[in-house]
């Protein structure tokens, strides 16, 4: 196909106010499109189907593990929806009232209730690590041996990694590294606490997250 002019093309969808291109734009950060999708969500099943399909496709492109039948997703959403119906509608407090003063390096504690994980996460964020997972061998699926390997010797890493808009680190499986880590056991922990925001990918090189 030769290059296409940027004028709008006929929408493949029906005369719905929210068409496929709007859903696609919404998921990529277009605020107006997002508002349109939100407004149409409860009344237009095609909008819901597309929001799901496009995200599903994105996940499937990034990992074959994600090529699971969408019926599974539908079932989960239905159950969450039902449970939400039993919940009071959540509203954030009007004032930005204090969970206490925010100190650098401890911001994650304010999300409350996960202090253990937050502390570990803060540590991992501060030293700017990439978390490696040992290659899962047959029969030990589910065991997450997390080894922490510093990726940067720069002491200025904390400023970047404690930035909440930093892209999530990428967890990479690498047999060579696993052997290295096995030989350097002092870095290994046997807890299942992974660093936050990690996305597992089966690619052979690290790419910054979305």
């Amino acid at each position: 196909m030769s290059s296409i002019p940027s004028t709008s093309l006929p929408s493949p969808a029906s005369a719905d106010a929210v068409d496929a291109s709007t859903v696609a734009a919404a998921m990529d950060g277009d605020s107006q499109a997002l508002d349109a999708v939100l407004a149409a969500w409860s009344r237009d099943p095609s909008v819901r189907e597309r929001w799901h399909a496009y995200h599903w496709i994105g996940d499937a492109l990034r990992s074959a593990d994600h090529a699971t039948p969408p019926a599974r997703d539908q079932a989960l959403l239905a159950r969450v929806r039902q449970a939400m119906a039993n919940e009071p509608v959540v509203l954030a407090p009007g004032a930005a009232s204090g969970a206490g003063p925010s100190r650098p390096g401890t911001r994650m504690r304010r999300t409350g209730g996960w202090l253990g994980l937050a502390a570990a996460a803060s540590f991992l964020a501060v030293v700017g690590v990439v978390v490696m997972q040992q290659a899962a061998s047959p029969g030990v699926e589910g065991a997450t041996n997390v080894a922490v390997v510093p990726v940067s010797s720069s002491a200025s890493a904390p400023a970047a990694t404690s930035d909440e808009s930093a892209p999530p680190a990428v967890m990479i499986r690498n047999a060579e590294l696993d052997r290295y880590l096995a030989a350097h056991k002092q870095f290994a922990t046997t807890s299942v606490i992974p660093a936050p925001g990690l996305e597992v990918r089966s690619v052979s090189h690290a790419t910054p997250g979305r």
């Binding site: 296409i4 940027s6 709008s8 093309l9 493949p12 496929a20 291109s21 734009a25 998921m27 990529d28 950060g29 997002l34 999708v37 939100l38 969500w41 909008v47 819901r48 189907e49 597309r50 399909a53 496709i57 492109l61 074959a64 593990d65 994600h66 090529a67 699971t68 039948p69 019926a71 539908q74 079932a75 989960l76 959403l77 159950r79 449970a83 939400m84 959540v90 509203l91 954030a92 407090p93 925010s102 911001r107 999300t111 409350g112 996960w114 994980l117 996460a121 699926e141 589910g142 065991a143 909440e164 999530p168 046997t190 299942v192 992974p194 936050p196 925001g197 790419t207 910054p208 979305r210």
Partner: protein
């Protein structure tokens, strides 16, 4: 750009818009299920833990201040929820760890060895494989421009501006190519999955 979307959706949820929360669920449910699946042996638990994760997130969202990215926060809830539920079920949350270190209970070890994990039943694997192949075929069937645009967006994570730069075209063209690529792939998947547009959503 993704963090931007999440932030906007979170703000909407905090103003009472439940649809916004559903959108976040649909966006992250697969990733959440996968991370839970790596923590638990029993695949039957995954949907329950995932559901509980999202409910907990929904309840806690008023206190979410955006200090971390939404998915970072959601990730921690998922891990915590999985551990709690495993404990509640009186199962060892580190069941594999203990089996590795004790190895005393022969029956338990052999049962663990034969248990299938991560939806890896033959039927599920076949379905996943077929779906993955369909996605790959759909990608291959795209024109070069559409394929490059959607790959740069979804796999390389480039913004529309960056893609416009790389592909040397206007941003409007980027937007058009990405949506047409997504819709073309979705159109090929729908017959395979048996759900017509919007049928069960």
């Amino acid at each position: 750009m993704s963090a931007d979307v999440d932030q906007q959706l979170v703000e909407r949820v905090q103003r009472g818009d439940q649809a916004a929360f559903e959108m976040l669920v649909v966006k992250y449910q697969r990733r959440v299920e996968r991370l839970i699946g790596r923590m638990v042996r029993d695949v039957d638990l995954v949907p329950d833990i995932a559901q509980e994760t999202f409910i907990r997130a929904y309840r806690a969202l008023p206190q979410f201040r955006g200090d971390s990215a939404f998915y970072t926060w959601l990730y921690r809830i998922a891990v915590n929820t999985a551990k709690r539920m495993l404990l509640d079920l009186k199962r060892d949350p580190l069941v594999l760890q203990s089996s590795m270190y004790t190895g005393e209970d022969e029956d338990e070890t052999s049962a663990l060895g034969t248990e299938l994990t991560d939806s890896a039943t033959p039927e599920a694997m076949l379905a996943s494989k077929e779906i993955a192949e369909t996605v790959n075929a759909a990608i291959d069937a795209l024109s070069e421009d559409l394929r490059q645009a959607v790959v740069l967006r979804e796999i390389e994570g480039l913004s529309y501006e960056e893609i416009a730069d790389v592909m040397n075209c206007p941003i409007g063209t980027v937007r058009s190519r990405i949506f047409r690529a997504r819709e073309a792939i979705a159109a090929r998947l729908r017959p395979l999955l048996g759900t017509k547009t919007g049928e069960r959503w």
